[in-house]
């Protein structure tokens, strides 16, 4: 029992990990085909996993409705939203456009899904301002550096800011464009590169731990 519950899954990790790893160094057609297949397999597994999520979602909102918990009425909208996308999709076979223009799915996309996601994304604009108001306070030298970098970048991005820079700091001879360019291509790159190298090495070691089965907490016990 332990074999099929634990050893085989660990073997799967090891085999697929090593095969994927070595095919990076093998240019042969066989290895290219293998990677293509793995890619496809991953897509397919993920697609099935999506149903796992869908069932969980439906089940949890169904039980809210069935048990009539507080605000169960809202759960109905989950189903309405789902049908509003899926029914048109089935009706026009997943195509957003046809010869006559927008299909029903295209309509659902541009008047339901897109406003919702674009608005959620746009709310970030509000949050970025309130975060800036709260956290760009110069309480230490480090906070000062953070503040200055952000301030210059925000100032220099718009024409009005550039005009302000020229009239206040024009005598330095450095345009705000040049300053931004310098920050983005030197000190900021150093910071980013340091993080990236650290991440790369951390990712490699973590992957070793997974492939060689040293870290296996994710499998649970028994």
């Amino acid at each position: 029992m332990k074999l099929i519950k634990k050893q085989i899954p660990l073997a799967i990790v090891f085999v697929f990990g090593v095969l994927t790893l070595i095919s990076y160094y093998i240019p042969h057609k066989k290895s290219v085909d293998f990677m293509e297949m793995m890619n496809k397999w991953e897509n397919i597994v993920a697609a099935f996993a999506f149903f796992l999520g869908l069932i969980s979602l439906f089940y949890s909102h169904y039980s809210k409705i069935a048990r009539k918990v507080d605000g169960w009425g809202y759960s109905l909208f989950v189903y309405i939203g789902f049908l509003a996308m899926v029914v048109p999709a089935i009706y026009c076979h997943g195509k957003q456009m046809d010869a006559a223009g927008k299909t029903a799915l295209g309509w659902s996309f541009s008047f339901i899904y897109n406003p919702l996601s674009a608005t959620m994304f746009a709310i970030l604009a509000f949050y970025i301002v309130s975060t800036a108001y709260r956290s760009f306070r110069i309480k230490s030298l480090q906070a000062f550096v953070l503040f200055v970098a952000a301030f210059i970048l925000i100032l220099g991005k718009v024409p009005l800011g550039q005009i302000i820079w020229t009239s206040v700091l024009g005598w330095t001879g450095a345009g705000v464009d040049q300053v931004i360019d310098w920050i983005m291509s030197y000190p900021a790159v150093a910071g980013k590169r340091g993080i990236m190298i650290g991440i790369a090495i951390g990712a490699v070691v973590t992957s070793f731990k997974i492939i060689f089965g040293i870290e296996r907490q994710y499998m649970g016990k028994d």
Partner: protein, 246 residues
């Protein structure tokens, strides 16, 4: 697409947009409706993407039309995940996700080594290969990057206690991180504002007479709702206001 549908669409889009924005003021039933609708619509959207782009062409067609039985392997691995719902045999789902983890780890190793490791070292030292034709300022800049990278890496040293010189160097590293964070933050502001501008522009479009003043009317309805709500629940108001203000 007929005109009626366009106008209906405008009303729905304007409504959903304003409902979501109302969360900025405070949580309210309209936001909850939009939120739940979005939950369903989001899953619905991806449902049709998966069905028409993956399950159709990559599973159904190969299996039924081309009899490519290899596809059964990932399909079975995928289905194994669903055993999660039956606690007794939920361990079967391990077959599915261990495959993904193995594949992901195998992919991550060489990719991280090449792009984020070797190439980043190369990128740091390469500018100096122009040494002969560089201005002193350019040399300084290249050295600054190298110095910064080393300092930041010192900050990430785990098995060495950060005191004495190590502490000094890793502190300098923190300053480079701060510059990066500040710059990256400032650099994103414009893109986010543009997005918001886009939403407002849409609302403005929908406020046209052609759409029967969709934006204004919905906006007005929301304001009336909040006024009435505040007026009716005067006693409860204190609490919610304070909490929302945070």
């Amino acid at each position: 697409m007929s005109e009626t549908w366009m106008i209906a669409g405008a009303w729905i889009a304007a409504g959903l947009t304003i409902f979501l924005f109302s969360f900025l003021y405070k949580d309210n039933p309209f936001f909850k409706i939009a939120e739940h609708l979005y939950l369903g619509a989001g899953m619905g959207w991806w449902f049709q993407v998966y069905v028409y782009n993956i399950l159709g062409p990559k599973v159904w067609t190969p299996l039924v039309v081309n009899h490519d039985w290899m596809v059964l392997i990932p399909a079975v691995l995928g289905i194994s995940l669903v055993t999660q719902f039956i606690p007794k045999i939920s361990w079967i789902s391990r077959y599915g996700f261990t495959f993904l983890m193995g594949y992901g780890s195998g992919l991550a190793i060489p990719a991280s080594l090449s792009t984020d490791f070797i190439n980043q070292i190369g990128g740091t030292i390469k500018p100096l290969s122009m040494m002969a034709s560089m201005t002193p300022f350019a040399i300084f800049n290249s050295l600054l990057i190298a110095f910064g990278v080393v300092c930041v890496l010192f900050y990430f040293f785990f098995s060495v206690e950060h005191k004495g010189h190590v502490k000094t160097v890793s502190n300098i590293g923190i300053y480079f991180l701060m510059i990066y964070f500040g710059a990256a933050f400032g650099n994103t502001v414009m893109a986010r504002f543009s997005l918001l501008y886009g939403r407002f522009d849409d609302l403005y479009t929908f406020s046209d007479k052609h759409y029967f003043y969709a934006s204004q009317l919905i906006m007005l309805a929301m304001v009336v709702y909040f006024l009435v709500h505040n007026f009716m629940g005067k006693d409860k108001k204190e609490v919610t206001e304070d909490e929302a203000a945070g």
